[in-house]
């Protein structure tokens, strides 16, 4: 395994060096790419992820235990879809002379997806609650 690991690290370092040299010699890249690279890292690790974890803590404190799993799942899916949908909803890529670009009402589409996610989560939570109640009503098998 040691040889395999050394090879992987060596190949990876060569590829990374190629990337850095390539970017440095490409007139189209410029310093802006480096700023963007650092920017997405800081925005994710310093803002987005702490926010997600914070919401998770709130769910742990303020939601009944038996519905926590569907609520967490629905929040996670909604969040991921929002990331993909946000530039479309904002619609900054639209141009006046090209209606074929971003032709849909994306805010409405996102709301429809939220509705499907949360309806599914509610049904799942209801099913879980029902199962728990049945389990409580019928005493466990002595077996």
């Amino acid at each position: 395994m040691k040889t395999a690991r050394r090879c992987l690290v060596a190949v990876g370092v060569v590829v990374m060096t190629y990337a850095v040299l390539g970017a440095l010699t490409d007139v189209d890249v410029k310093i802006g790419a480096l700023i963007f690279l650092a920017g997405v890292l800081v925005a994710h690790d310093g803002l987005l992820l702490p926010l997600t974890i914070g919401v998770g803590v709130l769910v742990g404190r303020h939601t009944p235990r038996r519905v926590q799993a569907p609520v967490r799942a629905a929040l996670a899916i909604s969040f991921a879809v929002t990331i993909v949908a946000l530039p479309l909803v904002l619609g900054r890529g639209r141009t006046a002379d090209n209606p074929s670009q971003l032709p849909l009402h994306y805010g409405r589409g996102l709301l429809a997806i939220y509705a499907i996610i949360w309806t599914t989560a509610a049904v799942a939570a209801g099913a879980l609650a029902l199962r728990d109640r049945r389990r409580l009503a019928t005493p466990p098998d002595p077996e």
Binding site: M1, L8, M16, G22, F36, I83, V84, A85, S100, P103
Partner: protein
């Protein structure tokens, strides 16, 4: 780097005392490794505050098994994106050794559709993966030794490049360029190499954790009732599924009805086909005196629109497949490129054609059609789409349409074709 060695070097790595037969480079390497592995002094404990404290993160869902499973899926997704992206890059900037066929006609449509769909589906995967290892960002001490510091720096590069790829890709497919202070294609390309290199280093470094995590049975330690490992993996899968269904209709037309987040609709646009660059944006106006120049080494011919329409007409059904991930099929009618190349006195079976647009500027105003596509009977200088003369935004009076090529290389408003021998 090696020259900066302090006094704490152990005697057996000192080149002055090397035993006979051991070479100088080997000794230098040993010295370097020792320097890298020398323990670093831990920062004062008073600095260990906030998330750096022990026990701040307490989700029991996090485990090497969860991280390895997510990492495996993500590595697969990134590999697909890298391979398909590289294909697209090579088609657009072909080195001498590269060869891309004209058939199957829809191959690029599939590879580029996969590129964008896989990238979009990676959004929840990367989010979950980074969440699962977030506490490691605050591990204490920050670096045990220089090798550890280097590994952490390469991890920062991996995370940054991974995020760069997904964020810039999402912005590009929604055509929002203002937040990106660089030319998208170039940044996305070099950052892809950076991400894949850092990923290979990462797998090499973490192999001793990944192997047991995936091969040994590891119990799920989550409390009953909460979200367990299987539940989280299902959630990530569901998120990827929702995103895929919501966007894939931009290239898989039957899904267009459910793809409420598709940046394009395959049937929406002039003549039921989307447009990337309009005639107005390209600065191309209708010119009644339009003539197509076809130049070859032997002779140059100049054809009016009527001359072109008088040549043998052919109808083909070919997709326009955009690098941004959308695609749409059109029924094109026009003159075969190989017939025009033959008019200029070049053997069409072994020729390439340099096709220029009436567009004055723009990165994609001209393209070279390689021999496999030039000789292909499906490659047309199209005059009609769906039976009607081309809409100005689709390249009136004449445009290139060839099988298995990115949309940006399907030159619109063609003004000049230079034919030359392919070999």
């Amino acid at each position: 780097m090696v020259r900066n060695i302090g006094p704490g070097v152990s005697p057996d790595t000192d080149p002055d005392r090397q035993p006979p037969g051991r070479s100088l480079p080997a000794a230098l390497l040993r010295r370097g490794v020792t320097w890298l592995r020398q323990p670093l002094a831990a920062p004062p404990p008073a600095l260990r505050r906030g998330p750096l404290k022990r026990g701040v993160f307490h989700s029991r869902l996090r485990s090497p098994t969860l991280t390895s499973l997510l990492g495996l899926a993500l590595a697969g997704a990134f590999t697909v994106c890298f391979a398909t992206g590289l294909i697209s890059h090579l088609i657009q900037h072909p080195p001498l050794w590269f060869w891309w066929p004209a058939r199957p006609v829809g191959l690029y449509r599939v590879t580029q559709g996969m590129h964008v769909a896989t990238g979009l589906a990676s959004v929840p995967l990367l989010g979950a993966k980074l969440w699962s290892v977030y506490p490691r960002l605050f591990s204490w001490p920050p670096a045990r030794n220089r090798a550890h510091a280097l590994e952490r720096a390469s991890l920062a590069v991996l995370v940054a490049a991974g995020l760069f790829q997904l964020v810039s890709g999402v912005l590009n497919s929604s055509r929002w360029y203002a937040p990106m202070p660089f030319f998208f294609t170039a940044g996305h390309y070099w950052s892809a190499w950076l991400a894949i290199g850092a990923l290979i280093v990462h797998i090499g470094m973490k192999l001793p954790i990944i192997r047991p995590a995936l091969t040994r049975a590891t119990p799920d330690r989550t409390a009953p009732g909460g979200l367990n490992r299987r539940g989280l993996l299902a959630t990530v899968g569901a998120a990827a599924g929702v995103i895929t269904l919501a966007t894939l209709g931009q290239t898989v037309a039957p899904l267009a009805g459910v793809s409420v987040l598709a940046p394009r609709r395959p049937r929406t646009g002039p003549q039921h086909l989307p447009v990337n660059k309009t005639a107005a944006a390209a600065g191309v106006r209708d010119d009644p005196s339009y003539r197509l120049t076809v130049a070859g080494p032997a002779r140059t011919v100049s054809l009016s629109l009527a001359d072109l329409a008088a040549l043998p007409q052919h109808t083909v059904v070919l997709p326009i497949s955009c690098v941004e991930g959308w695609s749409s099929t059109g029924t094109w009618t026009g003159v075969r490129l190989r017939d025009l190349v033959a008019l200029a006195g070049v053997d069409a079976d072994d020729a390439e054609a340099y096709v220029e647009s009436r567009e004055a500027r723009g990165r994609y105003r001209a393209t070279t059609v390689p021999p496999p596509h030039t000789r292909d009977p499906f490659t047309l200088i199209a005059l009609r789409l769906g039976g009607e003369p081309l809409h100005p935004d689709h390249g009136y009076p004449a445009r290139l349409i060839a099988p298995n090529r990115p949309g940006v290389l399907q030159t619109k408003w063609v003004a000049r074709i230079t034919a030359r021998s392919g070999s």
